[in-house]
């Protein structure tokens, strides 16, 4: 099971954020000043399991558009309801030392609050900045894909609340078909940069929460396929580098101290008996 989030029809209403917080009893963070942005939650974290991201590429007071897009005359006001991707190859699961992160029967990634001890290694590993640390509870937290609702035969709260059906929930194969059709339709309309993210296995083996984007993934703060790398890629090289250094260090130490043994022996042989 999973999500297909079609950003082309997201209107930034944040109903998903509200529904998520309400169902999961998340208090939310204290408000912070975000200048003239419509984004008032800022990022995904322990209190924001859904976050409506606003990419506000609109002209400044001088009429200049920074990072212009090829659509809408260089201007864009993109919105994306971001969420845990429930990666098929999940970085967080790779590094978790307590097995608090587990794969559910729905193929989603679930963080067991009662097992997590708050080491925060999963936060370091998640390439999407999805997981946050709950200071009050002392554990990491993230979207559960409404595991409790799924068990009750309900769809996740965010998908249920989305008024434009930008967030679609269902079986992954069905969602892939819907996404492919929508992409073909958009491309026919001339949206050349429209693309699916996480639909295939190029990004973390495929995402159970995948997206239709209107621009490059980087614009939405998503690593492209080239940069979507698993933490464990550095495991073997890291240890090999450590072993090589240890060997050189031990040889250096032997060279420094060995002569001590030789000089001690010399002292013994030359000393009067």
């Amino acid at each position: 099971m999973g999500f297909f989030t079609d950003t082309s029809i997201c209107i930034g209403c944040k109903a998903c954020e509200v529904a998520c917080k309400e169902w999961n009893q998340l208090e939310g963070n204290p408000p912070t000043f975000t200048a003239d942005s419509f984004d008032n939650t800022g990022q995904l974290d322990a209190q924001n399991w859904r976050h409506v991201q606003f990419i506000e590429q609109v002209p400044d007071n001088n009429g200049v558009v920074f990072n212009p897009t090829p659509i809408a005359g260089g201007q864009a006001w993109l919105m994306m309801s971001d969420v845990c991707k429930h990666c098929k190859n999940a970085s967080c699961m790779e590094v978790c030392p307590t097995n608090a992160l587990m794969r559910t029967e729905y193929d989603t990634v679930y963080l067991q609050k009662d097992v997590c001890n708050g080491c925060r290694n999963c936060i370091a590993a998640c390439p999407y900045g999805v997981i946050g640390f709950n200071e009050e509870q002392g554990v990491a937290q993230k979207c559960t894909l409404c595991y409790d609702r799924l068990q009750g035969g309900l769809q996740p709260a965010c998908a249920k609340a989305c008024p434009t059906e930008s967030i679609k929930f269902g079986y992954i194969d069905d969602l892939h078909k819907v996404a492919d059709d929508r992409l073909a339709n958009l491309q026919k309309q001339g949206y050349a940069k429209a693309q699916l993210y996480g639909r295939d296995d190029k990004v973390y083996g495929g995402l159970n929460a995948f997206f239709l984007l209107m621009d490059k993934p980087e614009v939405y703060k998503l690593p492209n396929a080239e940069n979507a790398t698993l933490p464990t890629r550095n495991n073997v090289p890291g240890y090999v580098g450590g072993v090589a250094t240890a060997v050189v260090g031990l040889i250096a130490g032997l060279l420094a101290f060995r002569s001590g043994r030789m000089s001690a022996n010399n002292d013994d042989t030359t000393a009067p008996r």
Partner: protein, 295 residues
């Protein structure tokens, strides 16, 4: 090669982790030097070897405390060892953090026994004399050699923990970070032993000279790895993360690296100056790596 993209959130590993990296490195490095001094050095180096084993265990004591206090749920520290969801032990070789916890546990046993032998050797606690006798023989060599493997692992795996992530700088440094922290731990441990050796009459001048020589070798190794670290993050496009205000810490690192070489040339320096500067450099390097990536 286009620069690496990073959208990961920082794990907020700060002072406790810095403390752990510092003392863990000294514990593992001192143990390795103790082994080398005892089995590669001569009888003259035995006093220094005992100091190394004592220093190793004392430096190790705060490590599990720091690691536990850093947890969001300190009372669940044992979840690192026992699988509370599936039962049995939790041992995950693909997670450097999991491997490190087990290695710390095992190394703790080695360090403690060697500590008992060492304190008997210096006459602080005669009850453990039999341990001291065993550790000076062939069995002791095997024991210390195995302990050294775990000790060196403690020195270096911390770098692998950082590298096995999606954080800027840490994950960009690939294979270098583990080795760099290990070499730095050896430098710091040699400096620590020099610091203690200066205050003890039973460590002769010959041993001090050899420790200084080893220290300089380790500094060269560390400097090479720091250079490789900078090259690797420059290639990834994240070099700017360790510059700016972090230049202050780089200066401390450079002074620490230069100190063992300058010590013999600057006559006015007290004997403790070079080791203290070297230890500050070791601490600064860890602070740099830990904090710069998360800002």
């Amino acid at each position: 090669m286009p620069p690496a993209e990073h959208f990961a959130a920082p794990p907020e590993w700060t002072w406790w982790i810095l403390g752990y990296f510092f003392f863990g490195g000294l514990a593992g490095g001192s143990y390795a030097l103790g082994t080398l001094l005892r089995f590669a050095g001569g009888p003259r180096q035995e006093s220094a070897a005992r100091i190394a084993f004592i220093a190793s265990f004392i430096a190790l004591i705060p490590c599990p405390i720091f690691l536990t206090v850093d947890l969001g749920q300190p009372l669940r520290f044992w979840h690192m060892l026992v699988d509370t969801s599936n039962g049995g032990i939790v041992f995950r070789p693909e997670s450097p953090l999991s491997l490190g916890v087990w290695a710390l546990l095992v190394f703790g046993a080695f360090s403690f026994v060697s500590f008992l032998g060492a304190i008997a050797g210096v006459g602080w606690f005669r009850a453990t004399n039999p341990i001291a006798r065993v550790l000076r023989g062939g069995a002791g060599l095997v024991w210390s050699a195995i302990g050294t493997v775990f000790g060196l692992f403690i020195c270096g795996y911390t770098g692998v923990v950082l590298a096995v992530s999606n954080q800027p700088v840490w994950s960009d440094s690939g294979w270098v970070l583990g080795g760099m922290l290990l070499a730095s731990a050896l430098t710091g441990s040699a400096a620590l032993l020099l610091l203690f050796a200066g205050s003890r009459r039973d460590v002769d001048a010959d041993t001090t000279v050899r420790l200084e020589t080893a220290d300089r070798y380790f500094v060269i190794l560390e400097a090479v790895l720091i250079a490789l670290f900078l090259v690797s993050i420059a290639i990834a496009g994240t070099l700017n993360k360790v510059l700016g205000v972090w230049i202050v810490l780089w200066i401390v690192v450079i002074v620490g690296l230069a100190a063992p070489f300058l010590a013999s040339r600057v006559r006015q320096w007290p004997s403790v100056a070079a080791p203290i500067l070297a230890l500050l450099g070791v601490l600064a390097l860890r602070a740099l790596v830990i904090f710069s990536a998360q800002t």
